[in-house]
């Protein structure tokens, strides 16, 4: 009797492990249109309204926890914001005059403005699920194809890029954050030269990004500095255009170590958006979007 129980226990355990390994092997490396992916999307489609409801019901608990956290950090944050505010006021005045000049010149030369953020509509969405592991930086939001969301649509919050849509159901979509290991985007440092490169997550620190493949900068030449903004580059070439419109802030340069800059042609960037505390986002939807898109290879 005891032997039978032991055999049964081992058989069930083995069966469960084998099923897990089969699922893992079958899923890994399959395309998005595979049966397992389709099944996964179907199940999420069913569960997402429940998650949305649970998210709303549990909002007070999140708010209480957030209140404690905010209170603890309030003083240091207030000092930091005060300093930031005075810097931003000066920058705003410069930016407003530059924008005016830019608009006038763009009109004069008939510059194509179809890949700027102004050409997109912003669709607000609530975050209904958040994967906080270091391995998959994804969130799920309550807007889907019924609302006009498409795969690869850029996602922003408080004006800063937070990620892109990687999977869409009719009532929900999955957003992969900019700190996910699969993320890569053409970006530009707002320094004197407008140096551009490829922005990828930093290996060794999932809360930071690296702007790599910058042009060669010789000592003595103007170079990216700590505190400068990094924005999306948003290139366009005929029907082919970048996934992200030009000029969306991504973050600030937090480390422009000269050795790293001159030898490896890269600087460290801290994301502008607080990716760990996203409760709502805006999805950028382009009316009559074309189908030809360019995406930089990840890694």
């Amino acid at each position: 009797m005891h032997d039978k129980q032991v055999r049964r226990r081992r058989a069930v355990l083995l069966a469960l492990v084998v099923v897990s390994l089969i699922l893992l092997t079958a899923y890994f490396g399959e395309p998005q249109s595979s049966p397992l992916h389709t099944l996964q999307r179907g199940i999420v489609q069913v569960i997402s309204p429940i998650q949305e409801g649970a998210s709303k019901v549990l909002t007070p608990f999140r708010d209480v926890a957030g209140w404690f956290s905010d209170t603890l950090h309030a003083k240091s944050r207030a000092d930091q914001l005060q300093k930031q505010n005075s810097t931003l006021r000066a920058e705003l005045a410069q930016a407003q005059s530059a924008e005016l000049l830019n608009r006038q010149l763009a009109k004069q030369v008939g510059l194509d403005q179809s890949n700027t953020i102004a050409a997109y509509q912003k669709l607000s969405a609530s975050v209904i699920s958040h994967d906080a592991t270091l391995w998959y930086e994804t969130i799920e939001v309550n807007k889907g194809s019924d609302d006009g969301v498409r795969i690869n649509a850029p996602v922003v919050w408080e004006g800063a890029l937070v990620g892109k849509v990687t999977s869409v159901g009719s009532t929900y979509c999955e957003v992969t954050l900019i700190t996910d290991h699969t993320f890569a985007a053409a970006a530009q440092a707002q320094d004197q030269n407008g140096d551009s490169g490829v922005l990828v997550p930093r290996v060794g620190n999932p809360n930071q990004l690296v702007l790599q493949d910058l042009p060669t900068i010789n000592p003595g030449q103007p170079a990216p500095q700590v505190g400068q903004q990094v924005v999306t580059l948003g290139f366009k070439n005929g029907p082919l255009q970048d996934l992200y419109p030009a000029g969306i802030p991504i973050g600030q340069i937090s480390d422009a170590n000269q050795n790293n800059l001159y030898n490896n042609h890269q600087v460290v960037v801290s994301p502008a958006a607080d990716l760990r505390h996203l409760y709502a986002v805006q999805i950028l939807i382009k009316p009559n979007a074309g189908t030809a898109r360019a995406q930089l290879p990840s890694g």
């Binding site: 699922l23 199940i43 999420v44 569960i47 209904i128 699920s129 994967d131 391995w135 060794g204 999932p206």
Partner: protein, 196 residues
Amino acid sequence: MTDQTKLALRLAALAFGTVVIQQAAVSQISIFGVTADLGPLVVMSVGLLMGSLPGAIMGFSTGLLVDLVLFQTLGVTSLLYIGIGYWSGRVRELLDPAHGLVPLGMGAAATAVAGFGMAVIQFLLGVAAPVSVLLLQQIFVTILVNTLIALPVYALVRRILSSTLPSDPRRRRRRAYTTGGLSPLQTRTGPLPRSR
């Protein structure tokens, strides 16, 4: 409805509720820069309360649900949770722990298995994710946070399952003293006579 059906339904509801609450609320509350992970704690609690086989099945189901809901590679989390559920159950079967702080240690161990196990599997799958001091730091802080909440989670799971459980270690321990089976002060025929 039989007791077994009731138990299965409760376990299914527990797994579903855990995943929904984890994703909708707990994962968005940051404590010391990390978030608590209810999954390993609930699976550990079920294993500790019910044994290795139900623990492994609960681990597989909860892990699969986590992978499905989070668009992760199917099978990764379930593989880890099977181990957590099974070994929590084996601890119960082999050691029959009755100490009230056992869930604390088991919670820490379960979280460590989940954290390090996930790192190893991702590394084997070739995910170009950060493997660094920061990762180790985050895993250790998560273990700490989960250890702090292990007892309340265990108590909650026990409360949810208590009416359908075949036997409860605490109930068994209490019964042992009240029936006179294990107390050295009592004999088979009854309590020892009082000395004057």
